[in-house]
């Protein structure tokens, strides 16, 4: 079928995520209207816009939390429109949330182990009867989770309850958990919200580092212009649910329309 054919950009790089005239309506309100994203393999792409522009709604559409009223979502050429969130994650989109959503009563390492669930198979029967496969898979869970925690410099906190981590570390853990699901595309929803300049800098370093290490494609929503200007290669600016501008970061940020939407006339 044509729908699951891989897509390539003009420069030969694979297009990881593509949305086709994405729209969603709540009652009479068009929260997202005709959004066309196209992000290439390995890109770090920013989605910016004033409050209420529909940025998080786009994330919810990409991850299957909402079903679009109109339009389609393609991941590596495969149509994901209308799939449930868990299914979308299995296909390769992982995300973080604006208001941190960790498994608060699980430890830091367990949070990451939950993220690994679909990578390491082990049936309910195997676990309940404690067949040898269970022990092997648990050891694998532990090792892989620890490895990921080390990348995020969270390994020394591995036995803390997630709820007891400091704020900045919670954000990082959420990214670590998302990375554990082995995604092709990582969606970060305001990862620097509420962070002080030091924490933001640390976060920027982490994002650049995992991007290089895992060669992953990242789409992020952010308000912190320093972070956006510092690490994003391309941007899409949303305003009232529609695309106001898109393109190279420096061009977009210099666009008078964008400045007007942000600062007002």
């Amino acid at each position: 079928m044509a729908e699951s054919k891989k897509l390539y950009a003009e420069d030969g790089r694979e297009i990881i995520i593509k949305t086709d005239h994405l729209c969603i309506q709540f009652g009479g309100l068009k929260a997202v209207d005709d959004v066309n994203l196209e992000i290439k393999q390995g890109e770090l792409y920013g989605l910016i816009g004033p409050n209420g522009a529909g940025k998080t709604t786009v994330f919810n559409l990409l991850t299957g939390v909402y079903k679009p009223t109109y339009g389609k979502v393609y991941l590596c050429g495969e149509n994901l429109t209308g799939k449930a969130p868990a299914e979308v994650n299995k296909k390769g989109i992982a995300r973080t949330f604006q208001n941190i959503r960790l498994f608060n009563n699980l430890t830091v390492i367990e949070n990451v182990m939950v993220g690994l669930a679909n990578q390491i198979p082990c049936s309910v029967f195997t676990s309940v009867v404690r067949l040898p496969g269970h022990k092997k898979s648990e050891a694998e869970f532990y090792e892989k989770a620890l490895e990921i925690l080390k990348v995020f410099k969270l390994d020394e906190f591995k036995d803390y309850l997630a709820a007891n981590l400091p704020y900045g570390k919670q954000r990082k853990l959420e990214i670590a958990r998302a990375m554990a699901t082995n995604p092709k595309l990582l969606l970060l929803d305001e990862p620097a919200a509420g962070m002080n300049p030091n924490e933001t800098q640390e976060l920027m370093d982490t994002i650049t580092f995992i991007r290089e290490k895992y060669n992953i494609t990242i789409l992020l929503i952010e308000h912190d212009m320093r972070l956006v200007g510092g690490i994003c290669e391309k941007l899409t600016v949303l305003n009232f649910g529609t695309e106001l501008a898109k393109g190279e970061t420096s061009e977009v940020l210099a666009n008078p329309e964008v400045i007007k939407a942000y600062i007002g006339e």
């Binding site: 959503r101 608060n104 676990s127």
Partner: protein, 344 residues
């Protein structure tokens, strides 16, 4: 990883229960076990199974079920009926019991599946009322059956299995319950179930199949409640639907809450303590005084829940809890030891 440490700790409850069973078995083999104690042990075992299975749904999956007695009712009636029918051809044998357990467990499990379905769509309070309604429906249906089928209001006559040692079988089933539920909890599936409890939206986004795990939780919980029901039918000569009303479900819930949500050992201890106290207090408090027991339980329940959950008491809880206290003590000891060393 502190694997060795974990091992002894995680098997401790099996070992203790098995040891206690053997201890009582020796007592009864030497003729030193009172029949009333044997009955109490049966009751405890059944309560432990009910509490541990409910704990799976309430403490780990985070869904409030007020119909646990309904699953027990299904197990007691259907398992009891099968046993009563098989006693003729097979005799009151072990085989009869096993078949009754299988039938009772499966039927309760099917009900668990049916109640799990609304659990996928309904949240919190709505689900609580649905489970409550389920329990009442089951009870009403059995209450109005004819005398030939399930005995109706008179109740279903059931066989009793080898009076004296039945508690041993009950405790073997407690061990089975623990084995299955504890192993489930301590696996990737248990982590997924707890993740759903903590944050369902994040669990979905992390690729957890919420539908599957919710159904699994409800079915497993129901199966063991059903098995407890079959055992219950064996401990009585007659199963009457009035027992399985919503107060019974609440009683099990109280056991789980008092034991601490999400703690299997807590549920076990609490089930043993409450069954024991129920029995002892029933002997001491007779007539109108009997109600004092309920009064005290209600008060304890309210106080514990407020103490454990009130946002205003958060600081207090963190300062004065068992863990912090022991940590403090060990620290003091360590400090004293190091001080001694320095002096020496």
């Amino acid at each position: 990883m502190k694997l060795k440490n974990l091992k002894i700790k995680s098997y401790l409850n099996y070992i203790l229960i098995a040891a206690a069973t053997v201890f009582f078995l020796v007592l009864s083999l030497t003729g030193n076990l009172k029949t009333s104690t044997a009955y109490l042990l049966e009751e405890m075992a059944i309560k432990i199974m009910l509490a541990v299975s409910l704990s799976l749904v309430v403490g780990f999956l985070g869904e409030l079920s007020l119909g646990h007695a309904g699953f027990m009712c299904v197990g007691a009636y259907l398992g009891g009926k099968v046993a009563a029918m098989l006693v003729g051809p097979l005799g009151n044998s072990f085989l009869t019991l096993v078949i009754a357990l299988v039938v009772g467990g499966i039927c309760a499990g099917v009900c668990g599946f049916l109640i799990g379905l609304p659990a996928l769509r309904l949240r919190g309070d709505y689900l609580a009322i649905t489970t409550l309604a389920f329990g009442e429906i089951v009870r009403t249906i059995f209450q109005n059956t004819s005398a030939e089928t399930f005995g109706g209001p008179i109740g279903l006559p059931t066989p009793r299995f080898n009076d004296k040692y039945f508690y041993v079988i009950c405790f073997i089933l407690v061990l089975v319950t623990l084995f299955v539920i504890q192993n489930l909890i301590r696996s990737k599936h248990g982590r997924a179930i707890k993740a759903i409890r903590d944050n369902e939206i994040a669990a979905r986004a992390t690729g957890i199949n919420v539908t599957r795990y919710k159904l699994l939780g409800f079915i497993m919980s129901a199966v063991f409640a059903g098995l407890a029901g079959v055992l219950y039918s064996y401990t009585k000569f007659n199963v009457s639907s009035q027992i399985f009303d919503y107060n019974y479900s609440i009683e099990i819930l109280v056991i789980v809450v008092l034991g601490g949500m999400g703690s299997i050992n807590g549920s076990i201890i609490s089930a043993i303590a409450i069954t024991f106290l129920n029995r002892e207090l029933a002997n001491v408090l007779t007539g109108d005084l009997a109600i004092l027991k309920d009064l005290v339980y209600a008060l304890i329940l309210i106080v514990i829940v407020i103490y454990k959950n009130a946002p205003a008491l958060k600081g207090f809880r963190e300062k004065y809890n068992f863990k912090a206290l022991t940590a403090k003590l060990t620290k003091k000891k360590a400090a004293a030891a190091s001080a001694e060393k320095e002096e020496g």
